[in-house]
Structures are given as structure tokens and as C-alpha cells.
Symmetry: C2
Subunit: 163 residues, 2 copies
């Protein structure tokens, strides 16, 4: 396979929760995630970009079977923080490329984004590290996303997994 | 140490580039990151949250010595995409907790955020995976951040590193 990528994974049994317009000041992220941790809820792909006019959005992904509990906790905390709103989106898929090659192959991110764009898939959230590139897309695109990435990165049969 | 965390790292020789208000449609992320990959520029911590009114922000971190070249590429691409603006921020530190324990210890994220908040550090960007939790903070807080996380997670001397 190309670039030493170990595989591509599509997770469809996850949901996205976004807290919109929270104050960008110390303690806000803690206020949201300490209670989730205390409830033993596993959060993944926590994403927060830079703020605008003192307000930030914080999103994260949770497993479907923890979603209701996570949402209840978040809605209460968001209210006390004065958040603009909480969005709950179950119709997502998380598409991830994993592999040690990412750090040493700076072209992988762009190639993954271009591959998904080539079949018309919009990237709704992005989060990357040296060993993993993850994108949130509409759940209906999961199969198509796996296929194009499998083809583009010349992966073997066992390397493109849908969960 | 607590939770099987392997260490905490502060990277201060990095800069943040943010492309503000790009269209949230297929191909935009590719337009920005394919040229960076072709220039062999290593991007880390690409972060994109959900869009508002059809527009998104995309941020990423690059090493100081690749920053000028990355910025030049991004500014040209951002212009052709009709981005609202490009922000360049060199006064940052990336604070990361690394360890296999993160996936199985859902309390780590909240505890990290709370520890940093307890010493007044604002979290400007957040990006997480099962093996790494990264926050962008003001560069001036790097030492303080390392110290509080080292103390809170009871890490040994060699486990809190400033780069
Ligand atoms: C928005 C949120 O991350 C806030 N900046 C905090 O530090 O908690
Ligand atoms: C904003 C950008 O990520 C866009 N949604 C794309 O798919 O390229």
C-alpha cells in the first residue's frame, strides 16, 4: 500500500454532539468534560477550533449506546454555561486513515481529502495527529468513502473496515 | 503515574495557521492541503469543527521553520477560495498528553482541561484521539501547563518534556 498506511476505518455507530457558542474562557471545556468522565462516557475526537467574538464551539463523538446519557449531561452543562445551543447529530460516519506513515508522509492528508472530494463527499469535521487522520461525513457516504480510500491508497482487503 | 499516561509534552517551536470562513463544500480542504503536501510541509493538528451558514474555519499547526512557506501557500489558496481571512499565530504552545491509557480512562480529558483551568490557562484549540489529547495555549503558559499536568497526573521527571 501507499505511504505505509495500515488501514482505513469507517465508524457508523457513533454520534456527534456539538456545544455551540460557549464562552472562550478558562474552565469551560472542563465544565463539559469532567462530568462526562465521571459518568465513564468515552469521548473521542473532541474538536475545538479558534474562537470568534469570545465564543467557541466544542464538538465530540460518542458511541451510539452512550449518546443519550452524554446528551443529557451536556445539555444541562451547556445551559449553565450560557451556550447558544446543543446540536445532536446521529447521521454521521467517522472515516479514519491510520498508520505510522502519516508523520513522515505530509501528502497523505491532502490526498485523503482530495479522494473524498472526488466522489463528492463533504468533510464536516476534521481532526488529525501523526498516526491518524479522521473526518466526519454523512453516514450515507461511509461505504463510498471506504471504497475510494481503499482504491486511492491501494489497500488490501482486510485494511478497509466498516464498524 | 495516574491512568497509564506516558507523558506530557509542550511544543513551543510551532505556529498556528487558521483559514477563516471558507465554503463548506467538497474540495475545499483538499485545495488547502494538497499544495502543502506537495511542498513536503508537515502539518499537524488539522482542526475543523462544524460549519455555520455554509462557512468553516480550518486550522493547523506547523513547525516554525516551515511556517513562512506554509503561510505563503495558504494565503494564495485562501484567496482563490474566497476565505474571509488567514490568521497566523506564532505565540502558541501545543500541550499534549500521550498514553495508551486515554482510550480506557474517559476521565483524562476533563482532568487535563480542569488542571489547566485551575491555573488560569485558556484552551484555544482542542484535538483528541485515543492516544493523545492536545490543546493549544498561549506560549507564555507552556511551563505552567507542563508543571500542573506533571503534578496532577503524578508524572516522573522524564515524562514532562518541553520542546
Ligand atoms: C472554549 C473552552 O475550551 C475554553 N477556552 C476553556 O479553556 O475551557
Ligand atoms: C471546509 C472543508 O472541509 C469542506 N467541507 C471540504 O470538504 O473540503
Amino acid at each position: 500500500n501507499i505511504h505505509g498506511i495500515r488501514g482505513v476505518v469507517a465508524d457508523t455507530r457513533v454520534v456527534k454532539i456539538s456545544v455551540i457558542g460557549v464562552p472562550d474562557r478558562p474552565g469551560v471545556a472542563a465544565a463539559l468534560f469532567v462530568p462526562l468522565g465521571q459518568a465513564r462516557i468515552k469521548t473521542d475526537m473532541i474538536v475545538q477550533n479558534i474562537s470568534h467574538e469570545g465564543l467557541s464551539d466544542i464538538s465530540f463523538v460518542v458511541a451510539q449506546d452512550e449518546a443519550q446519557e452524554a446528551l443529557a449531561i451536556i445539555q444541562e452543562k451547556a445551559r449553565s454555561l450560557g451556550a447558544v445551543e446543543v446540536q445532536f447529530d446521529p447521521e454521521i460516519a467517522r472515516i479514519s486513515i491510520v498508520g505510522g506513515g502519516i508523520a513522515s508522509h505530509p501528502e497523505i492528508a491532502g490526498e485523503m481529502f482530495a479522494a473524498l472530494a472526488s466522489v463528492g463527499i463533504n468533510l464536516e469535521m476534521i481532526s488529525t495527529s501523526e498516526i491518524k487522520i479522521s473526518c466526519i461525513v454523512r453516514q450515507e457516504h461511509a461505504q463510498k468513502a471506504l471504497q475510494i480510500l481503499h482504491d486511492r491508497f491501494e489497500l488490501g482487503k482486510g485494511d478497509a473496515i466498516e464498524n
